[in-house]
């Protein structure tokens, strides 16, 4: 399945776009997404940390992704 990945802050700069498409197998996990992203965008590994959000919630590495999920890369937050 193809999943759109939203990007914010520095992740948007690294991707060069506010959204990219990733091709995933059906049982793909958050971990798998991070691996694929880091393969394609090695600069992600230089961040202090980053999280994946699924449907507007922080996701765990073992969470699996479903077809209509909204997936986003969340670099270190700095609001306030």
């Amino acid at each position: 399945m193809n999943i759109n990945i939203l990007a914010f802050g520095i992740a948007k700069d690294i991707f060069g776009s506010p959204v990219i498409e990733l091709e995933l197998t059906n049982n793909a996990t958050v971990s798998n997404i991070k691996y694929l992203l880091e393969q394609r965008y090695p600069r992600l590994k230089q961040l202090s940390s980053y999280m994946i959000a699924v449907n507007n919630e922080y996701a765990l590495p073992e969470d699996t992704i479903h077809h209509h999920d909204e997936v986003a890369v969340i670099p270190p937050v700095s609001g306030g």
Binding site: F8, G9, D13, N56, G79, G80
Partner: protein
């Protein structure tokens, strides 16, 4: 309703925020007003840019305010966060909390800003004379 959460791309109305949390049951209101500093580690800041993942930011702020009502006897809680381009002296965030007694208002207001800075998906870019930096992005 006892909670108002907004992400806005226009200047925040601090006085309006305080009016919103006022209540005849309240004895004390604590308000945190963030302001854009003119320098970071001695380096002059030209302006800031704030970006939010809006639906998730609202959801995380709702969690924080709900936790605050669970932890302290509060009357009203307001969080307004601005996004877009801000100059030095402008206000990126206002948090206002009213309670019958002031200790709860102080504790909750501080908890909300501390937690907001840790969990709410909002990002700040500092623009200097000679470049720009996403705050906290790199070690």
């Amino acid at each position: 309703m006892n909670t108002e959460i907004k992400i806005l791309d226009t200047p925040l109305d601090v006085a309006g925020c305080i009016d919103w949390v006022m209540s005849p049951d309240a004895g004390g209101i604590d308000v945190f007003v963030g302001t854009v500093r003119n320098a970071t580690k001695g380096k002059p800041v030209v302006r800031l840019e704030f970006e939010a993942y809006e639906p998730m930011a609202i959801k995380e702020l709702e969690k924080i305010t709900q936790q605050s009502f669970a932890k302290w006897p509060l009357i009203r809680v307001l969080v307004h966060h601005r996004i877009g381009i801000l100059s030095v002296g402008e206000v990126p965030v206002v948090i206002a909390v009213s309670a019958a007694h002031r200790d709860a208002a102080f504790d909750a207001c501080r908890y909300i800003i501390d937690t907001l800075k840790q969990t709410v998906p909002i990002w700040k870019k500092e623009i200097f004379e000679d470049g720009e930096v996403w705050v906290a992005a790199h070690p």
